[in-house]
């Protein structure tokens, strides 16, 4: 129903595997806390894996934007991995593909943080 976030570390990159819905309510709060914790722990290279996100609405997109700006404001970098077709559409329509760096390969995403 709501969102499950699994956290892993690959090299010096923190990967958050999201699965479920990012909509108004539970999903947003959890994502916000996960990002906050990473930044507080000085983990500022963050990769959000959206491959298993089943539903996103405008609040969910807003939450991705919020994660991005929170990370940037703390001097970090947040990138997106495995956009579903529908998330891709929602980001494209609102010109957010120009804001986010997105990847379809985890390897390339990880490498990109240390270029």
């Amino acid at each position: 129903m709501s969102l499950t976030i699994n956290q892993r570390t690959v090299g010096d990159v923190s990967v958050l595997d999201l699965s479920g819905k990012v909509t108004i309510g539970a999903g947003s709060v959890q994502l916000r806390e996960a990002i906050r914790k990473l930044i507080d722990g000085n983990n500022k290279k963050i990769l959000l894996n959206l491959g298993d996100v089943s539903y996103v609405d405008s609040s969910g997109i807003g939450e991705l934007v919020h994660s991005f700006t929170t990370t940037s404001n703390a001097g970090g970098v947040l990138k997106l991995l495995n956009l579903t077709k529908k998330i891709q559409d929602l980001l494209a329509i609102t010109k957010l593909l120009t804001v986010f760096e997105t990847f379809t390969s985890e390897d390339e995403a990880i490498k990109s943080f240390n270029k």
Binding site: T23, I24, D57, S58, I61, G62, F68, T69, T94, K95
Partner: protein, 145 residues
């Protein structure tokens, strides 16, 4: 040629926990009309956005206030009305989410998505107060004979 028209009316209290219910009713109805999966997804998203706006901005989370959703369906299209009991607003005066200064705003994309995915989106004020959002979507027609 319209064979028949049906109306489904649904009223909820202003609580986000009912948005899934409205979305699931929407999914059921778009399936009855025969929308393709992707169209149905975006219709459901648009309904969800307008219901969330009705709860949040219209009724200001006052759970005693109702949100009325009405679906009018025919063989070719769906019209959805979402009514709240708030103070109304001027839809011509909302910020453009594509404006570079708004790009990183976490809010302000709901109505834009509704207008993108639906064929028609109209806002009006109910004579007894509150906003009515009317959204229309026609079924994609096959251009074959």
């Amino acid at each position: 040629m319209e064979q028949s028209e049906s109306t489904i009316a649904l009223t909820i209290n202003s609580n986000f926990k009912f948005t899934e219910l409205v979305a699931s009713v929407t999914d059921n109805i778009t399936q009855i009309v025969g929308f393709a999966e992707e169209e149905a997804h975006w219709i459901s998203l648009s309904v969800r956005e307008s219901v969330i706006n009705a709860i949040k901005h219209g009724n200001k989370l006052d759970s005693d206030k109702a949100v009325d959703v009405k679906f009018v369906i025919s063989e070719e299209e769906i019209i959805i009305y979402v009514r709240d009991y708030g103070e109304g607003f001027d839809p011509t005066r909302i910020p453009d989410p594509l404006d570079p200064t708004n790009l990183l705003n976490p809010n302000g994309r709901g109505i834009f998505y509704m207008r993108t995915f639906m064929d028609e989106v109209d806002f009006s004020n109910h004579p007894q107060g509150g906003t009515i959002v009317k959204m229309l979507k026609k079924k994609a027609t096959l251009e074959s004979t």
